[in-house]
């Protein structure tokens, strides 16, 4: 019988107070709530022992506890308990188990056996005018039913039962731990179904009408036929694990089949023909100044930082899991991309996290459903954002990696499938043990070593699932919860101790596809592998071999370790509390072989596994849409218009995220997420990664999804220009700047969508080459669509706008030359650099506010922008610029207002210098809010004005006015407001 320890906080109970507020905010009629922490201990203990355990798990100064007893004297109407479902990672339960085990071994008690465990849950006592049904709803609004259980009891029942029930969430698998043969000799319809919905469960009777399926393989007809032919040649049917393994390796998620495909008459396809090609040309053009060291071939891309160090960068998306479980999806995303960094070369130390969340409109509460019966609602955008924000919070903060940079972008078309971008920059010495740190390779005879967490059912079919649109069939097991501490221990062991000891020849991350991808990928380095799958430690018994092989359980890395070094590695891992298992050997047999208890269950040619996938040929078309012509008068009160613009979700502050993400850890913060006395979110950040050096890493992001509704070519060009100019604005240079591309497309089986894609890729090539900024890594996610039902049961499809995130990475030689966004000294001059084109309103926040998209999307004039950026770098080098912000969403108007708020200083401005340059007299609202690219708003000390104007004499520059001390924000003839009011709207 398991024991229950319930812990109550007796003073300053913030958790209960916040819960009460939260339930009010959600509209429940509750008066008060009391939150208790519960530990269910599935192991025999005596009463006095349990008391010692409870003392350890609680704080006697502030808390009290109950052991196997119920809170009979509490005043409440209903109690609701939320615990984890079987198999879901329970970090708190695991820590409690470790603490108790530690205590047990220090006190000569038997330690935990395999079938003993500790589980955490939360118990909430509610008082108020509520029913049992309300309480159930409260539970549902706090829990995620995919991963958590909800138990409700009335006061009466609670008293009669003497408390809540003791529940031990144990996984009991009915699967048999064996591998099955699968026949591919099926009628076409059945074969396609196998590809789409998965292998039938082995207990399924022949000819049965309804058959359980194991989950999507995402193999199309062409792939299935190639596989069928391969096994005909091998003269045997495939085993389940072989099909699952091929499905993982060939998935869109892993092989990027669309980016690799021939597209129209472009033989090379999107990736080789545009992205990689740009990088190759740029590197050639740069010659000796080429700073790339490892691009596109590793888990991240690496560039030179200084004589001794390399920085690596990677950005990922974790969209589909985040739609189902936003917290789990996001935390898994951020710790996953950290691992990409740890898996770069011989292992880079993660030093900076970045994020970008694209979600539905914040106040959109209209439900949508995954199923026709309307029983399976999608989470609301608000709920999704809350979960995502919290996931990255816990993942980043717990890992000790600063998260200084990120954005939230709202659009109604992200309602069905949010986009969760996460990125990590890493630092690695140029040389480790006398060899370039980015070179690695498994050798024949090396042991295959798995480090980190145990393998469970979590994340099965993650890779194939993310290659499909989200439907009611999306597997719940695709959801995982990351454990940043398990990963932190592993990361510390590798980066801080093992790396310099030369104990492994190769290392990679276990991400999508789990072992099936990481081992097979590393096996390419030497030409084969042989795995003993029964040696992989699992979370619970009876997992089928194919499940072990493809599980995406988190916090694992795979290493190639020479046999004589295993022992030393084991010792170090043991010290760090990291589980290590030797699961096989790398070979040069040309085959990927997997055995389970000595039975050969997989035996595939390496060539077939990696290159057998038939290459796709894609046809595209691109009919540019014609959007209704915007038709509205210039508002009479532009002050009010500016206020409204500032409070738009895509322009206003997201300080609530910035301050809950640790951005000062590691001690290298230079320019953070919030700048100036007024704490305005800035688009670029700087970190000093080496405490003894004055060199800084600059990083920013550019994204313009609404421009895709007009023209994806210019959407991509603007995203690139935004990412580039943000780096220039803080002091960076085109000479030392790299980019990454993250495409999040939709319906990528439609010719028009593919046409949009090709056009965006063309811009990626054109603008990167022009700026000389190479792509060093990238990722694509091609089916960000939601298919389901609206509240009336009508079928709907919501496709995310074709979205391209460009991440930029630069190096600043002297961080004291960094330029922040806030004006600093009254009397400074305000200038705008670059031409403002009032007609370029297409896709702007301003048109969106009036319900239009428009057609005249901003276009980047590359020659002018390069000239401007080069001069701007000269100016920051000479310390001529006191503050700078490049206009983006909301154009010049929003940029000026944000600067004023940041500096908490007034501005006295006059737009007439801008108007004299223009032929026709344009509308002032268009001047203020057009999102013309390649502009900078700067402030300059009066004594430096001449030098500044001389430097920029060949570049359009307009003096708009000056900074004042009086906190008024005035644009002559048009706008009159003050900082406090702007501040209020900006923070909304």
């Amino acid at each position: 019988m398991a024991h229950r320890i319930e812990i109550f906080t007796k003073v300053n109970d913030a958790k209960s107070a916040v819960m009460t507020e939260k339930l009010h905010a959600l509209g429940f009629n509750t008066q008060s709530s009391i939150v208790a922490e519960v530990y269910t201990i599935n192991k025999k203990f005596k009463e006095n022992e349990l008391r010692e355990v409870a003392e350890m798990l609680s704080n006697p100064v502030t808390q009290k506890y109950l052991i196997d007893n119920h809170a009979h004297d509490l005043d409440f109407d209903f109690a609701v308990e939320i615990g984890f479902l079987p198999g879901v990672t329970d970090n708190i339960g695991n820590t409690a188990r470790e603490t108790i085990n530690d205590w047990a071994s220090a006190n000569n008690h038997p330690s935990f056996q395999d079938d003993e465990s500790v589980h955490s849950s939360t118990l909430i006592f509610l008082k108020g005018n509520i029913t049992e049904e309300d309480t159930q709803k409260i539970g549902e609004s706090l829990a995620n039913k995919l991963i958590q259980r909800i138990s409700v009891k009335s006061h009466e029942k609670f008293m009669a039962d003497r408390g809540m029930d003791t529940i031990v969430p144990k996984v009991q698998l009915n699967t048999r731990a064996q591998s099955d043969e699968v026949s591919l000799n099926l009628p076409e319809e059945e074969l396609l179904k196998l590809g789409k919905e998965g292998i039938p469960e082995s207990d399924c009777k022949k000819g049965a009408r309804k058959c359980g399926r194991r989950g999507p393989l995402a193999l199309d007809k062409e792939s299935l036929e190639v596989i069928k032919k391969y096994f005909e040649k091998e003269k045997r049917p495939p085993r389940d694990i072989e099909l699952e393994s091929l499905a993982q390796t060939w998935s869109e998620h892993c092989k990027h089949t669309i980016f690799a495909a021939k597209i129209d008459d472009n033989e090379e396809g999107i990736y080789k023909g545009f992205i990689k090609k740009a990088t190759q040309e740029i590197r050639k053009n740069k010659g000796e100044k080429d700073f790339c060291v490892s691009v596109f071939k590793d888990n991240a891309g690496g560039i030179i930082f200084d004589e001794e160090w390399v920085i690596a960068d990677k950005a990922e998306t974790h969209n589909s899991p985040s739609a189902l479980d936003p917290f789990g999806g996001a935390i898994t995303g951020i710790v996953g991309v950290n691992r990409d960094c740890i898996g770069f070369g011989k292992g880079a130390k993660p030093i900076i996290n970045k994020y970008g969340f694209c979600v539905g409109e914040p106040d959109d509460e209209e439900p949508i459903y995954r199923d026709k019966k309307l029983e399976n609602p999608a989470l609301s955008p608000k709920r999704i954002l809350e979960g995502i924000v919290e996931g990255v919070n816990q993942g980043g903060n717990c890992s000790g990696i600063p998260t200084p940079q990120g954005f939230v972008y709202y659009h109604k078309n992200y309602k069905g499938k949010p986009l969760v971008f996460v990125g990590t920059i890493g630092l690695i010495p140029k040389e480790i043990n006398g060899k370039p740190a980015w070179e690695k390779g498994a050798k024949k005879g090396d042991k295959i070593v798995m480090l980190g967490g145990r393998v469970g059912m979590d994340g099965i079919h993650g890779a194939t699932f993310s290659s499909e649109a989200l439907t009611a069939h999306s597997p719940a097991t695709a959801v995982q919860i990351g454990d940043p501490i398990t990963q932190k221990k592993m990361s510390d062991a590798i980066i801080k101790e093992v790396r310099k000891k030369n104990l492994y020849n190769s290392i990679t991350d276990n991400g999508a596809g789990g072992l099936s991808c990481s081992v097979a990928e590393m096996a390419k380095e030497c030409g084969g592998c042989e795995v003993q799958l029964e040696k992989v430690p699992t979370k619970y018994p009876n997992m089928a071999p194919w499940q072990i092989w493809i599980s995406e359980s988190q916090e694992r890395m795979t290493l190639a370790v020479p046999p004589e070094k295993i022992e030393e590695l084991q010792k170090i891992m043991e010290k760090h509390g990291v589980e290590i298992s030797v699961i096989g050997e790398f070979t040069d047999s040309g085959r990927c072989i997997v055995k389970y208890n000595n039975e050969k269950i997989m035996d595939l040619e390496m060539n077939f596994l990696h290159d057998g996938l038939p290459r796709k040929e894609l046809k595209t078309k691109y009919d540019l849409p014609k959007n209704p012509k915007p038709d509205f008068e210039q508002p009479e009160d532009l002050t009010e218009t500016l206020h409204k613009m500032l409070s738009r979700p895509n322009i206003r502050s997201h300080e609530f995220i910035s301050t809950q993400y640790d951005h000062t850890v590691q001690g290298g913060a230079v320019l953070g997420p919030l700048q100036g006395k007024g704490k305005v979110n800035a688009p670029a950040s700087i970190t000093k990664p080496l405490p003894e050096s004055e060199k800084g890493v600059i990083f920013s992001q550019g994204i313009n999804p609404t421009y895709s509704f007009i023209d994806t070519y210019h959407m991509a060009a603007c995203a690139i220009d935004t990412a580039v100019r943000n780096i220039i604005a803080v002091g960076g240079t085109l000479e030392h700047m790299a980019l990454m591309d993250n495409f999040c497309w939709c319906s990528s089986n439609e010719e028009q969508r593919l046409g949009e894609l090709k056009s965006a890729a063309q811009a990626c090539y054109d603008y990167a080459v022009a700026y000389g900024a190479p792509y060093i890594s990238g990722k694509d996610s091609m089916f960000n669509d939601f298919t389901g039902y609206d509240k009336d049961g009508n079928e709907i499809k919501i496709s995310a706008p074709p979205t391209l995130l460009i991440s930029s990475l630069g190096v600043l030689n002297d961080v004291t030359k960094a330029v922040s966004i806030d004006p600093k000294i009254p009397g400074d001059m305000v200038y705008i650099l670059g031409e403002t084109k009032p007609a370029e309103l297409g896709g702007s926040e301003y048109l969106a506010m009036h319900g239009f998209i428009g057609n005249n999307v901003p276009k980047v004039d590359i020659n002018n922008s390069i000239k401007l950026y080069k001069k701007f770098t000269d100016a920051t080098e000479k310390r001529l610029i006191a503050s700078a912000l490049s206009p983006s969403f909301g154009g010049l108007g929003a940029a000026l207002a944000k600067k004023a708020i940041a500096g908490q200083l007034g501005m006295e401005l006059d737009l007439s210098p801008l108007l004299t340059g223009l032929e026709e007299h344009p509308r002032i609202d268009n001047i203020l809010f057009s999102e013309t690219q390649a502009r900078m708003v700067v402030t300059v000390a009066p004594e430096k004005a001449v030098e500044f104007e001389t430097l920029f004499k060949d570049i359009p520059h307009y003096r708009l006015g000056k900074i004042t001390n009086d906190k008024n924000f005035i644009i002559k003839d048009f706008i009159k407001t003050d900082i406090a009011t702007l501040d209020k709207y900006y923070r909304n």
């Binding site: 932190k488 221990k489 290298g668």
Partner: protein, 266 residues
């Protein structure tokens, strides 16, 4: 003499490298040591003069911040750590390290070492807060803060809300154990007001020491203000200095705390 300084790491501690640098720059001999090296006996606490519990997320704050690792130390190293505390040596706990010291009963230790008397509870906002705060020194007793009247430092924590019972608080005042209090920018008391007091801490307490002044715990992170450019708002200071024709300083003010510790042994 160069004090031998042990910086603890493992299980999710994550500020050990920058903390070590701050000691090193001030002339200490530093070593980052995994807690299991002490437990296994490959390293001995007795060999060190300064012991630092850096910030981080030991055990992910599970079962209470700083609690699980304090349990680990108590279950395995209790004698050694109590002996260290009683000798003429220095201990600092920063953020999660402060939470560990409180859970180990090394702070405030108004009566004896080893009894839990104080807690760092969930922030009043019930959310992780990363922001800069202003602090004023109140103790003349604490070795670590000699010569510091006020200081600007970042905090980054979810559980920094200091609490103890009235008796303990009274004792702490009598013993001059309250080291740092949160203030407003102008130095006036924060009076519990967010964001000046970022967590709701009792009497705006941000850092305390033991009665001897040798053991010090604080929620803010001095090691994150190791150079001039770390400080929130440094860009404005820089611009003013440049216009006044003055040089831009290199060092951050947080280093002073580590300097005091190293000086103690000289």
């Amino acid at each position: 003499m160069k004090p031998k300084t042990a910086i603890l790491t493992g299980y999710g501690i994550n500020c050990e490298e920058e903390t070590s640098k701050c000691f090193e720059w001030n002339g200490a001999e530093t070593e980052i040591i995994h807690v299991n090296d002490f437990i296994k006996g490959t390293k001995k606490l007795a060999d060190y003069q300064i012991l630092a519990f850096p910030g981080g997320f030991s055990y992910g704050d599970d079962t209470g911040s700083g609690n699980a690792i304090a349990n680990k130390i108590r279950n395995n190293l209790n004698e050694e750590i109590l002996k260290f505390a009683q000798e003429d040596k220095l201990i600092i706990g920063i953020c999660n390290g402060f939470q560990v010291l409180a859970n180990l009963g090394l702070l405030p230790a108004t009566k004896k070492y080893g009894e839990r008397q104080a807690a760092l509870m969930h922030n009043n906002t019930a959310i992780f807060e990363c922001r800069w705060v202003h602090l004023k020194t109140h103790s003349s007793n604490c070795i670590w803060t000699k010569g510091i009247e006020k200081i600007h430092l970042p905090i980054a924590h979810g559980e920094g809300n200091f609490y103890c019972d009235q008796n303990t608080l009274k004792k702490m005042k009598e013993n001059d154990q309250i080291v740092f209090r949160y203030t407003k920018e102008n130095g006036s008391p924060a009076d519990g007001k967010f964001p000046f007091n970022p967590n709701g801490s009792m009497e705006d307490i941000a850092g305390i020491c033991d009665p001897s002044g040798r053991i010090f715990g604080m929620m803010p992170h001095p090691e994150r203000f190791n150079s001039f450019e770390n400080e929130e708002g440094w860009e404005l200071k820089k611009e003013k200095l440049i216009r006044e024709g003055k040089p831009i300083p290199k060092k951050g003010e947080g280093l002073k705390i580590f300097e005091n510790a190293v000086k103690y042994f000289q």
